[in-house]
Symmetry: C2
Subunit: 163 residues, 2 copies
DNA sequence: CTTGCAGCTACAGCGACTGTAGATGTTACG
DNA sequence: CGTAACATCTACAGTCGCTGTAGCTGCAAG
């Protein structure tokens, strides 16, 4: 029975939230997680609210929201009486972004399938894959990577199920 | 009429290949593009072979191949009599990777659609989007971001069509 | 009282560039 | 020939979202 209920070390918070220790400190640095009180020995002590916040961040990251949007969503979540339009808008933007990336990747996949399909598995000199890489005119579609079209959506650290 | 035909500056090479000037120097640094001869004034002079190589790199990057695979593919392309199995294998790996990312993103999109669909557009306190972010148990699927599942496939600098 | 793990700060590194500063080179115009 | 405008040079910082390391200190158990 400690002095206050629910005060846990950073390691415990990591286990409870699925966010790695280093990442928790990183989020604090980034302003996503408020700096918690410290013990006599200068160690961070987290309460349930911090852990809940970490879980929220983790889940939003898993869904691909970038950190600035996660911060916005966290702010919104603390204004219960406000309308939720802003949150909806962020989610819709994120969905649109994910869909954009899906279609970009589908066009890449199609092009890759095509060049693999045309390859006769012979010598390099006649390999359709290498020919195609040397000349985009052999491609069926544009599949151009329009400015971060296929960049990261969510990297995640591990699964919700833990390591 | 210059001393040798087809010797172009880095800016010309950039225009001809669609690879940015800085990026060309970056590729040289990374060993993807051999260091070209220099002019009297120490400026790089590229021939058609360099430009072709740059185009190859550009195209492979647009298709999402990471730089190490691009390097392998370039090496292979210079051994015309070798069998093309290795190139095929790289392309297949890349396709598998792209497909993995597509399905990851599709699961994200599904989850995002679900939470957006359930939102009643009322107050934050009852917003399904924020509730869901706070609790993964409200999600229909796992959609976990398994170690770089959704990370970048190709960022690209601009389209083949130019800027 | 020591051992060993957990936590602390601070910083380097990933991938694949992009952008900048400050110094030269080159070219066009007058 | 001078000079202005632009291209290129090197070298390095910054992007994103972490991850991992080094070198400390703290803390509980034997
Ligand atoms: Zn082949
Ligand atoms: Zn193509
Ligand atoms: Zn809502
Ligand atoms: Zn979820």
């Amino acid at each position: 029975m400690s002095i206050t209920i629910g005060e846990v070390t950073i390691g415990e918070a990591a286990r409870l939230s699925g966010v790695k220790v280093n990442t928790i400190r990183f989020y604090e640095d980034r302003g996503l997680l408020p700096a918690p009180p410290r013990s006599d020995g200068n160690q961070r002590l987290y309460g349930d609210d911090h852990v809940a916040r970490l879980r929220f961040i983790r889940h939003a990251r898993d869904l691909g929201f970038p950190l600035p949007e996660v911060a916005e969503l966290l702010d919104l979540a603390h204004r219960p009486e406000a309308p939720c339009d802003a949150a909806d808008a962020i989610a819709r933007r994120q969905l649109a972004e994910v869909q954009r990336r899906i279609s970009q990747l589908q066009s890449l996949a199609g092009e890759l399938e095509r060049m693999i399909g045309f390859c006769a598995h012979d010598r390099v000199a006649t390999c359709r894959i290498l020919e195609t890489l040397a000349d985009h005119a052999l491609c069926a579609t544009d599949h151009h990577a329009g400015r971060d079209a296929t960049s990261d959506v969510a990297i995640g650290t591990a699964s919700h199920a833990g390591p």
